[in-house]
């Protein structure tokens, strides 16, 4: 049974990485139209090295995603605690209010934000993108952490309090460690939501200060060159190294265990 499960996991990973491998390979293919047969070339990486705009957009994306993940995870976790650990009137409504940001197509949300931010004087720019990204990521964080809370027994906190823990101490010693897999997962999602967010960034970015997905989205119009594959590949490999390295050296039980 176990080996069957592992084979299945392997197949899922093959499925997930198939287009990623294609993406990486095409970054090394000479054809600008991604045409086959494959013709090895590092041309696109050379082009990329000279493309300051794309590289800067890449850095912007990373910083934006990191800040989004940190802020959204912190705020969303607090909200999840209230929504799944406390009873109060209006709870159902507040939960439902998490859905519009997910359900309404980003294009509409982005247009709405552009107009609204214009009216209120928030304007456009990296700060506006940050506001937008965090707002989009919060529902994901709340729902993921909420799932963790639903499956985490409430009596553990009570047990800690019966032994003399204040609610805050109980949260940090008992709830938080047990909730870690959900919180880390939520943060990874928030990071991904921001990193992959093009529609809203597109509306809220100012000329000369864009993110990678915005560059890619704009490029659909006119030339989606393998440079984009190159930078995407670099980004993925870098994040793989960082995050797997982090998992390696972080204390055990961060995301994999709840015991």
């Amino acid at each position: 049974m176990t080996s069957l499960a592992r084979i299945f996991l392997g197949l899922v990973l093959v499925f997930l990485y198939l287009p990623i491998v294609v993406m990486a390979a095409m970054g090394f293919n000479a054809s600008p139209l991604y045409a086959l047969p494959f013709d090895f070339s590092t041309h696109w990486y050379e082009e990329l090295a000279g493309n300051g705009r794309l590289i800067e957009a890449g850095w912007n994306s990373i910083w934006l995603a990191v800040l989004t993940a940190v802020i959204a995870t912190a705020l969303g976790t607090l909200a999840a605690l209230a929504l799944w650990r406390r009873t109060f009137r209006g709870r159902a409504i507040l939960r439902i209010l998490l859905l519009p940001p997910i359900a309404i197509p980003w294009l509409i949300t982005g247009t709405a934000m552009l107009v609204f931010f214009f009216w209120t004087g928030i304007g456009r720019g990296l700060h506006a993108m940050l506001i937008g990204h965090v707002a989009l990521a919060i529902p994901y964080v709340v729902l993921v952490v909420g799932t963790g809370l639903q499956t985490l027994r409430a009596d553990l906190e009570e047990a800690a309090m019966s032994l003399g823990s204040t609610p805050i101490h109980a949260f940090f010693r008992v709830t938080l460690p047990l909730l870690m897999p959900s919180i880390v997962g939520a943060a990874l999602f928030a990071f991904a939501v921001s990193l992959d967010q093009f529609v809203i960034s597109y509306f809220l970015s100012v000329p000369g200060m864009t993110t990678l997905p915005v560059e890619i989205y704009s490029a659909i119009r006119k030339g989606f060159t393998p440079e984009i594959n190159a930078i995407s590949t670099i980004l993925l490999v870098a994040s793989m190294i960082v995050i797997l390295g982090f998992a390696r050296f972080a204390r055990p039980g961060g995301i994999g265990e709840r015991s």
């Binding site: 009570e158 800690a160 019966s162 032994l163 003399g164 823990s165 109980a170 008992v174």
Partner: protein, 352 residues
């Protein structure tokens, strides 16, 4: 000295009244069971004593100090939860030592106390394990050790044995009793299992719809239930309702004697008679004149369980139940006429 005093406590959730004016003392060092069906308010009362729930009215004193406004964590209680609530991310020793740490006891002193507590629950040397590696019974013991190691003013147990299988439950009952006696902690135990309550407790409190209807020693509560509910919830009972006439109660043509004080003639009263207190004999057999009460009846059905027999009988409009020892191996046949008899002191007058 009082262990826990609850005075005038009431609690409602919205329009639902969960507890109504509870006033009760739990004496220091005693083991008291709160017994009642689900929804009777026993768990709410326990959680009010613990401090998880704030009462709408009334006050709670623990070890002489008023703790009504004191949060759980400042009350110095020990609590064992239904599902044990062991911290899965900590070792057994860390679990047991958790409350000590909150009380500023750390290091060597803490380790010694933890080991002592683990010995008390017969799990010496289990400190390094994780809760996941323990059986249900062992987890139960760790939860108990964790609650008693802090020397709480009161030990609160919330149906701690209900998740165990029958054999393990009986074993743990013995353990629990031993540990409670050894530690001398004032203990309040919530259960819906009457047998468990009778076995373990110094005192039993019966709760019905948010009130304590009777509290006393197990034998006292069993032998002299004060209400119909108490009589029925703790054990089995036959209820005979009739009218008082000249110091006796007229029921189905018979005049039933009791030793309880009765209201004046003409009043309606209900008597409870435990099924095992009633002797049964064929109508044509020689009578035993020693018992004050006798009632003719017909056997409606017999349930044969080996060591004992349960007779369902009818006497006029009345349905009765009698437990008899299976002493001669030949139960009375269905439809046979019998005479039931019992002592006057076993007719207990109860409130509706």
């Amino acid at each position: 000295m009082s262990g826990v005093d609850v005075t005038g406590v009431a609690k409602s959730y919205g329009a639902t009244r969960v507890l109504t004016d509870i006033t009760q003392s739990f004496e220091s060092g005693t083991f008291t069971s709160l017994l009642g069906p689900s929804g009777s308010g026993k768990t709410t009362l326990l959680r009010i004593v613990a401090g998880f729930v704030a009462p709408d009215e009334g006050s709670v004193r623990i070890a002489g100090a008023d703790v009504t406004g004191v949060p759980v964590y400042a009350r110095n209680i020990g609590m064992v939860f239904q599902s044990y609530a062991l911290f899965p991310h900590m070792s057994v020793a860390a679990n047991v030592g958790f409350g000590l740490g909150r009380r500023g006891i750390r290091g060597k002193a803490a380790r010694a106390q933890v080991e002592e507590a683990l010995e008390m629950v017969r799990l010496p040397g289990f400190g390094a394990r994780h809760p996941k590696q323990l059986s249900g019974g062992q987890q139960q013991r760790v939860a108990l050790a964790r609650a008693i190691v802090i020397r709480p003013d009161v030990l609160l147990l919330d149906e701690p044995l209900s998740a165990l299988d029958r054999r393990l439950r009986q074993e743990m009952q013995v353990e629990l009793l031993r540990i409670q006696r050894e530690s001398g902690l004032t203990t309040i135990f919530v259960t819906h299992d009457q047998e468990e309550a009778l076995t373990l407790s110094d005192k039993v409190a019966i709760l019905d719809r948010g009130r304590i209807v009777q509290m006393g020693r197990p034998a006292e509560v069993y032998e002299r239930p004060r209400t119909k509910f108490a009589a029925e919830f703790l054990g089995d009972a036959n209820f005979l309702t009739g009218i008082v006439r000249a110091g006796r109660v007229e029921i189905a043509g018979a005049a039933i004697a009791t030793e309880d004080r009765l209201p004046p003639d003409g009043a309606t009263v209900t008597l409870a008679v435990r099924p095992e207190k009633i002797a049964i004999r064929p109508a044509d057999a020689a009578g035993s004149g020693a018992l004050e009460n006798s009632l003719p009846a017909t056997v409606a059905s017999v349930i044969y369980t080996g060591t004992a027999l349960t007779y369902m009988l009818r006497s006029g409009d009345l349905s009765l139940k009698v437990f008899a020892q299976n002493s001669d191996g030949s139960p009375l046949a269905e439809g046979s006429a019998v005479v039931l008899s019992w002592a006057a002191r076993h007719s207990v007058s109860v409130e509706g």
